[in-house]
């Protein structure tokens, strides 16, 4: 003990002790500041197509974040995107290129943003508010009532533009500065109000909504400007176990794209009513809609007995009408379908077959389709569609054919793979480990 005291009192040893202390402090500082590292997983995806561009991308799943890169060529234009997504406390944060979307009632605002986007969702929950007297606050103490809260907040800011996308990649073009927010608050368990506000150089969005919902009934209304166009909408619905119905009315006023001015040039009001039900093996639905441009109705009846399913549908819209009879047989891995279509006086028979297993998927269909863009004499065309899929370990490959509106067959092939990387991926300081619950794109 004396020896230790002697050592500590030695001026040379004091110098070593301070050096050790400073090294310790430096190590603690590095642990706090330097990012942690963990094993990462890389998802590679890519594909080629005769109609939707060629490209690919990768997603790096780090210890608490996701890093996205994608690039490709579509219509002879190069497009790319890069984004980092992570969770910070309750906030879902996206930095870089994100296809941000805010929904409110029937309205949907899509904002491809190159900047930052934040999302926070808090489910509706109640708690008892009990205040404890403190030295500063002695007026109110004890139980003061039940406090309930539930809300969701969406914020974005940066360069907002139009999105160029294909199944393999996406990019943002013609971007200009913009920002916006959406906030939805559950005032009670049955009543919700919300607002969407967004600004860009040319377009402005300001929407308000209210929603009242009980077990069987729901009434909601929205109104405001969606990208400079005035829109008003109301909807009421009722639903029970075997029967449901809805009715709604929407008004859209379209304006020219003048910044700061709203000039109505066209006004459309749509009324719609629908009823649907199902009991035991049978189901059915009917709906009508009416507007100052067009009117229409649809009727749908179906029945299902084990592996056998039959459905009959009828659509009328203005002067056009079509009838459809579909028969489907479904077993564990196999499915067969046949349907007869009668549209504008012409009848066609179509059939297809499919096989689905854990390793292999195949679907072949032979259809006669109506192409409204072709001359009337060639409007009905026979189409063979094929879809093939193959999965081996972490790798999946798919090939499919698609018919374009000019009745020409197009093809598309793609695939993706997951691989663990030997590299240690850096972690974002302060971010939570819940990044994996981010929605995959």
């Amino acid at each position: 003990m004396l020896g230790l005291r002697k050592k500590l009192s030695d001026p040379h040893q004091e110098g070593d002790g301070s050096r050790i202390n400073s090294m310790r402090l430096a190590l603690i500082f590095m642990l706090c500041v330097a990012p942690c590292f963990g094993q990462g997983v890389v998802q590679l995806q890519g594909g080629a197509s005769s109609f939707s561009g060629n490209g690919g991308g990768l997603v790096i799943y780090g210890p608490n974040s996701e890093t996205h890169f994608s690039a490709g060529v579509i219509n002879n234009h190069f497009a790319y995107s890069a984004a980092e997504n992570f969770m910070f406390h309750d906030w879902e944060i996206g930095v870089g290129d994100n296809q941000f979307a805010i929904t409110g009632g029937q309205f949907y605002l899509s904002a491809p943003v190159r900047g930052i986007s934040l999302t926070r969702k808090r489910p509706y929950a109640c708690r008892n508010d009990v205040r404890i007297p403190t030295a500063r606050r002695v007026a109110i103490a004890g139980y003061t009532g039940k406090r309930c809260r539930g809300d969701s907040l969406y914020v974005f800011a940066g360069a907002v533009g139009s999105v160029v996308s294909s199944p393999f990649f996406y990019g943002i073009q013609q971007a200009h500065l913009g920002a916006g927010l959406g906030y939805k608050r559950e005032l009670t368990r049955h009543f919700t109000v919300g607002t969407i506000q967004a600004w860009t150089r040319l377009k402005r969005t300001s929407l308000e909504e209210a929603d009242f919902k009980t077990n069987h009934f729901e009434i909601k209304g929205q109104g405001g400007w969606l990208e400079n166009n005035l829109q008003l909408s109301g909807n009421a619905s009722a639903a029970w176990n075997h029967l449901g119905m809805n009715a709604g009315r929407s008004t859209y006023v379209f304006s020219t794209q003048q910044p700061g001015f709203v000039i109505p040039v066209s006004r459309i009001t749509v009324n719609n009513f629908g009823v649907f039900g199902g009991y035991s093996h049978f189901s059915g639905s009917a709906s009508v809609f009416q507007s100052n441009l067009n009117t229409g109705e649809s009727l749908n009846l179906g029945a299902r007995f084990g592996w056998f399913q039959v459905q009959a549908s009828k659509y009328n819209s203005g002067k056009t009408s079509s009838k459809l009879l579909t028969i489907t047989e479904h077993s564990m891995h196999w499915s067969l379908s046949q349907y007869i279509t009668r549209s504008n006086g012409s009848t066609s028979v179509n059939f297809g077959a499919g096989y689905v297993s854990n390793r292999f998927t195949a679907q072949v269909g032979y259809n006669v389709l109506y192409f409204p863009l072709l001359p009337q004499a060639q409007a009905f065309q026979k189409v063979l569609s094929v879809t093939l899929g193959f999965r081996f370990k972490s790798t999946s490959l798919s090939a499919t054919t698609v018919v374009n509106p000019q009745a020409k067959n197009q093809w598309q092939v793609g695939g993706d793979d997951y691989a663990s990387t030997p590299l240690r991926m850096p972690a974002i300081p302060g971010a939570s480990n819940d990044a994996r619950r981010l929605p995959s794109r």
Partner: protein
Amino acid sequence: MKILILAAISFVGVVASAQTVGPVFLEGKIGKKPFKGQFLVENSTVHPMPVVIEAKQLQAVDGKPVFGALLPGTVVSLKDSSAVVSPRSSRVFDYEVRCEKNCVVTFLAGMSGGKNPQGINIRLWLMSSAFLCSDSAKNCRTRTKKAMGLE
């Protein structure tokens, strides 16, 4: 020592994962042919996930549910009893069940969940059950549970 503990806490990451098994139950009628069913195991993580399947039969002992080995008279055939489910994908397991009288066969899907910070292996068990009745498949689950005194 404190620094080592701090370093260990900093480097040990807990991966939030959510595996899914569905459907939770199927109802069928006992016939001449065995009852054919299937359930799906979904891996929502970005790592390959080994899965093992075990078939158990549910019985009521003194009004309490007990999972035990298959009883005599119950025949279960599983096409695959184990698999490695690829990242962010799913796998379907097909099975056939034959019973002489009303029965409940439960398929336990055991999924490896990695290790906890103390190094102990964690395995998650999720189940899909087949309720078979001799008279009709409709409401077989409710009737079986009532007969077993579980409701």
